[in-house]
């Protein structure tokens, strides 16, 4: 579904990614793991078109992404649930959700999607008229995911969905991710919470200082020596 082939990415003159390649197949949950500063968000931003690779290319459903402007991604069916929520703080919860469904196809199913979001996250229905900036951390995260669902995407890219959440909420979060995946949305997950992510994902890639150092099935990596030492603290 999504193929990233040998990309190099720079910030100005500083290289951030070296020769990154990976693939996401339809129906999978693929996790991109790594510590802070490893280049995970950079990778997602490159797929989203906010950054341009200097080398290599990205394909989505056979279409070349690297030449398209950022705002075209949504119409191809890629939803980006960004890090730090990136909600629209002065707009209400409902307006934030509506913003998720700007593309014609998503717009046609707006009511239906909204109901779907409200069944997954009942709390959002209660808060529908509240400004997004006033939500708690957990609620903001729900809204961010809900906004992603509103787009009826084929691929949802989630950037650190568990960041800053209380432990019981993290469990909830991963349940939701699996649920969304079961409902037919492919997921590319970027996580620091390696243990949780590896349990949830089909396959995973490990990024270290801008390079992919490990890859494989989630379960298998969970028992990898390097992973245990570096990330799980065993």
């Amino acid at each position: 579904m999504l193929k990233v082939n040998n990309i190099d990415v720079y910030y100005g003159d500083v290289q951030a990614l070296w020769d990154i390649s990976f693939e996401v197949k339809e129906g999978e949950i693929v996790a991109l793991l790594g510590s802070n500063g490893a280049g995970k968000t950079t990778t997602l931003n490159t797929i989203s078109g906010l950054l341009r690779p200097r080398k290599g290319n990205i394909e989505f459903l056979g279409q070349e992404l690297t030449k398209l402007p950022a705002h075209k991604m949504a119409s191809l069916g890629i939803a980006h649930v960004p890090e730090a929520r990136k909600l629209f703080p002065e707009m209400t919860v409902k307006e934030n959700l509506l913003m998720g469904s700007l593309m014609p196809e998503a717009k046609a199913r707006r009511e239906e999607s909204m109901e779907r979001v409200f069944t997954i996250f009942p709390i959002l229905k209660e808060r529908a008229w509240q400004a997004a900036g006033t939500l708690s951390g957990g609620e903001s995260q729900m809204l961010a995911v809900g906004r992603g669902i509103m787009a009826c995407p084929k691929l949802m890219m989630m950037d650190e969905p568990s960041l800053g959440l209380a432990p019981f909420l993290v469990d909830e979060e991963f349940k939701v991710i699996e649920r969304i995946n079961r409902e037919g949305i492919t997921i590319l997950l970027v996580e620091q919470n390696v243990a949780h992510a590896l349990k949830a994902c089909t396959r995973a890639y490990v990024l270290e200082i801008g390079r992919i150092t490990l890859q494989g099935k989630g379960e298998k990596l969970l028992h990898d020596k390097h992973i245990e030492e570096a990330y799980l603290g065993i």
């Binding site: 910030y11 100005g12 500083v14 951030a16 802070n36 500063g37 490893a38 280049g39 995970k40 968000t41 950079t42 890090e83 200082i209 801008g210």
Partner: protein, 320 residues
Amino acid sequence: MAKKSWFLPAILGIVAIALPPFLGGYFQHILILVMMWVAMATGWNLLGGYCGQASLGSAAFFGLGAYGAGMLYLHWGISPWWGVIAGPLLAIVVAIPIGLVTFRLRGGYFVLSMLAVCETIRIIFLNWVEMSAGPLGIVIERTWGMEKLPYYYMVLAIAALSLYVVYRLMKSKFGYYFVSIREDQDAAEGLGIPSTKYKMYALIPCAGIIGLAGAFYMNYMAFIEPNTVFPLIISATMILSVMLGGPGTFWGPALGATIFVLLSELLRAFAGPVIGTIHYLIFALILVLVIMFLPNGIAGEGDKIKRLFRGKKPVYVGGE
């Protein structure tokens, strides 16, 4: 910044000193204007270009400098040449409270607040007739009549002084702090640089230099009134000169001011008779094009020394 860097200034200095006596009065006059704007643009650049606090109200300091000189004569009959001390002093004294208030604001809002401050000062000078003679303005007796050279060397000294002050400041630790505040104020504060304090350290010489130019203007033009020394166009000319030459570069503002004065005079006096009343339109169009295509000015875009402290520019590595 190699050895040859003093070579060019020395030649320029020699030319600036030796050439004018051989020019006609008109060209001497133009050179006087050039030097005045060189001083002002250099002063503005200290706060705007190096410290990143672009002010759209620096005409306030110019006007205060001019009035500092003019009011000496108006109230006490003292020679306005003492304004060379009184003018900058007045500008600095007023600049300190202004800075304390407006430096709390950032970016565009700082620009606008300075504009508001400048306009307020203009209106006060216009209305407070007892203090400033209001719209009647101040007319003084000129010291030298036809002779332009004394004025020229005076303003040349002012320009050289302003360049020297800026050079010394930028070579000291102040320069490093100014640039770090410009590049990232939060990070600078994180490193323990009190930003408001260092902005004040940039503002004070900036106001002093511009005030000095104002005091000179009073002596040279022999007439000031609030609308001619406080208008937006003076602030804008300072900024545009710096933009043209290169903000945050040492020679850029001087270069920009020279080009600015010469170009506008060239278009007005020599092209004007040919192209008629559109000469100013052409001038304005050139400005738009320069801002669009040379946003870092001639000096800034021209060479590789884009920023004085390039290594200190924050770089983003990896994730965020």
